[in-house]
């Protein structure tokens, strides 16, 4: 008798979750003109997303990141790669009058080989980025519908009364307009493609839950009117803030945490096992938005004169309905029908999206503080340079020297420890973050705080500079 379960006859791979295979897939995906370094401060090409791909082979994504590694460069890099991979699921076409359609890059963006590589790498990157949630957020015991409702009501009323960290950061910033613009940018990875992750659940067969979710999707898409589509409203917000509205024009300025949040919503919609987590996450998002959008709009209006806040007003209004609709037509029937599994996952998703939203606001607050301290860190260089250089000469501090030509851009990145940048000759525009630069001349420099997004652009014909790994600036002052 032939054994009909004798199927395998492997020629190259036994397991498509194999980490070596996934690593190969990441490098192959990133090895593209769409991802190579290029000297644009902002993305000028519709399909390009900078991944600093030449660095990827040195990063290790095989051990899941822990909470205290979430702001590391490896996590930033994984977030960028994963974000770029997810978007190959969505149709993106340049739609504005001034935007050129680059046929070659369009084909490259959706190339079957890259899509296949992405399919192999995504579960691996998701595991690397999101495993920490399982340890950070523990959900257990016996969840019933009345308990879920009790808990959600309790947490949401607490949260509605608390002040958003992002608005606090904008109001406290030395440059509230820039901080306000920066916050709009951090919302962009999600809002410019708003409801694309959600629409992944527009397909399938799962009874009236599908219909209920579709009702929300209809509103998100502007119930058939392009001008009322939520992403269109957000494009108008960006325009009114003197910002470009093309998706990912500001790719390089997305913070680690902003990407983590938008990737999370992609993860729980792409992998259908997470449907119930999604229901909890979207319930939190729809409800928290009612008061969150009010707070953001009030602060942003003050910091950016003439801001079009219709996007935020729309959400203060329609999310009252969305919150109620998700509770009665998704949360409740899902728990009634699918029991414990649904209830546990719904609570988990609710807490996860809450946690990640708060994390993003905290990271933003730190980034604004870092940009505001540009002058302080510029001066700090002068105070500590001699001591650092002496230790470096003695081999006690790691130092690396670079010589770069005019116009060369160091794509934004972050370091895991504090660094000191010192200019030996030439001039560098040090990019402290979105819309904030410090001009560094020969003999000058700047302290670079660990985990903070920054970049550099060479202004002189050539610039020779040294990066000293000082680990913790506090040791030196």
């Amino acid at each position: 008798m032939h054994d009909k379960t004798d199927v395998l006859d492997q020629r190259s791979a036994d397991d498509f979750l194999n980490i070596e295979l996934a690593r190969d897939a990441i490098l192959l995906f990133a090895n593209s003109v769409l991802h190579y370094d290029f000297d644009d401060r902002y993305e000028q090409h519709f399909y390009r997303r900078k991944l600093r791909p030449h660095v990827l082979k040195y990063l290790d994504f095989s051990t899941p990141a822990s909470v205290d590694q979430l702001l590391s460069y490896a996590v930033l890099s994984a977030n960028r790669v994963l974000g770029a991979m997810y978007e190959t699921d969505f149709l993106l076409l340049p739609s504005g009058p001034a935007m050129e359609f680059d046929e070659k890059e369009f084909d490259e963006f959706y190339a079957p080989g890259r899509r296949a590589a992405a399919a192999c790498a995504m579960p691996y990157l998701e595991k690397y980025l999101f495993s920490f949630l399982g340890q950070e957020i523990a959900v257990g015991g016996s969840w019933t519908l009345p308990r879920v409702e009790e808990y959600f009501g309790h947490i949401l009323s607490q949260d509605a009364a608390s002040e958003s960290l992002a608005t606090r950061a904008i109001a406290a910033s030395k440059d509230p307009k820039n901080a306000g613009q920066d916050w709009l940018l951090q919302l962009a990875p999600d809002f410019l493609l708003e409801s694309s992750p959600m629409a992944r659940y527009a397909s399938g067969s799962f009874g009236d839950l599908g219909t209920s979710l579709f009702k929300v999707i209809i509103d998100e898409l502007g119930y058939g009117e392009f001008d009322t589509k939520h992403s269109t409203l957000f494009e108008n917000t960006l325009r009114s803030a003197d910002l470009n509205h093309v998706p990912h024009h500001y790719w390089q300025y997305y913070l680690n945490s902003s990407l983590l949040l938008s990737n999370y919503f992609n993860m729980i919609t792409r992998d259908k096992r997470h449907f119930f987590r999604y229901v909890g996450a979207i319930y939190y998002a729809e409800t928290a938005f009612i008061t969150g959008c009010r707070q953001w709009a009030d602060t942003l209006k003050n910091s950016i004169p003439g801001l079009d806040v219709r996007y935020f007003n729309e959400h203060c209004h329609i999310d009252v309905d969305h919150s109620r609709m998700v509770m009665s037509n998704l949360v409740r029937p899902a728990i009634e029908r699918y029991g414990d599994r649904a209830a546990n996952d719904i609570v988990r998703g609710f807490e996860e999206s809450r946690w990640l939203g708060e994390w993003a606001e905290k990271d933003f607050q730190t980034q604004i503080a870092w940009k505001d301290k540009a002058a302080h860190y510029h001066e700090a260089h002068d105070r500590i340079f001699d001591a650092v250089a002496a230790k470096a000469a003695a081999g006690e501090v790691k130092a690396e020297t670079f010589v770069e030509p005019a116009g060369e851009l160091s794509i934004t990145h972050c370091h895991d420890e504090d660094e000191l940048c010192h200019i030996n000759s030439g001039v560098m525009e040090f990019i402290n973050g979105f819309g904030k630069s410090t001009r560094l001349e020969a003999g000058k420099g700047i302290v670079i705080e660990h985990n903070r997004l920054h970049g550099a652009l060479i202004e002189s014909d050539e610039c020779n500079y040294t990066i000293y790994t000082i680990r913790d600036v506090k040791q030196w002052v």
Partner: protein, 130 residues
């Protein structure tokens, strides 16, 4: 009140007493995010199982009459959410509108796990003879 939020030592355990149903529940959360919600009453005479000690063979024994606790019984009395980096634990019950819903929560030393202390390293004073 249906939700109680406590900040405290995440490596501790908690006891929740529910007078309405005469239940007593033991809760803890492991470093890996696993939640245990257990009936704290010994099957025999209701002894406090969270005070179980580990004997020389690594078995859990009830402090009252020393019977072995083979398999702790899960309790459905409440639900739990814990956020590790914030050291916060939420205990959740439905609000019973008809009854005054009183259910005190108390932090206790974490319950030992069977075999968690090897007989040699166990403190001699805490061992219960077979």
């Amino acid at each position: 009140m249906g939700v109680k939020s406590l900040t405290g030592d995440p490596s501790a355990g908690w006891i929740v007493a529910i007078p309405a149903t005469r239940e007593r529940v033991y809760i803890d959360v492991s470093e890996r995010g696993e939640v245990r919600v257990l009936n704290d009453k010994c099957r025999h005479r209701g002894g406090p199982l969270h005070l179980c000690q580990v004997d020389q063979e690594g078995r859990l024994r009830c402090p009252w009459h020393g019977r072995e606790l083979k398999k702790p019984r899960p309790s459905k009395a409440l639900a739990v959410v814990a956020i590790a980096s914030k050291n916060i634990v939420h205990f959740v019950r439905e609000t019973a509108e008809s009854s005054p819903d009183v259910w005190p929560v108390k932090q206790v030393v974490r319950m030992q796990r069977p075999g968690s202390i090897s007989p040699k390293s166990a403190m001699p004073g805490r061992q219960v003879p077979n």
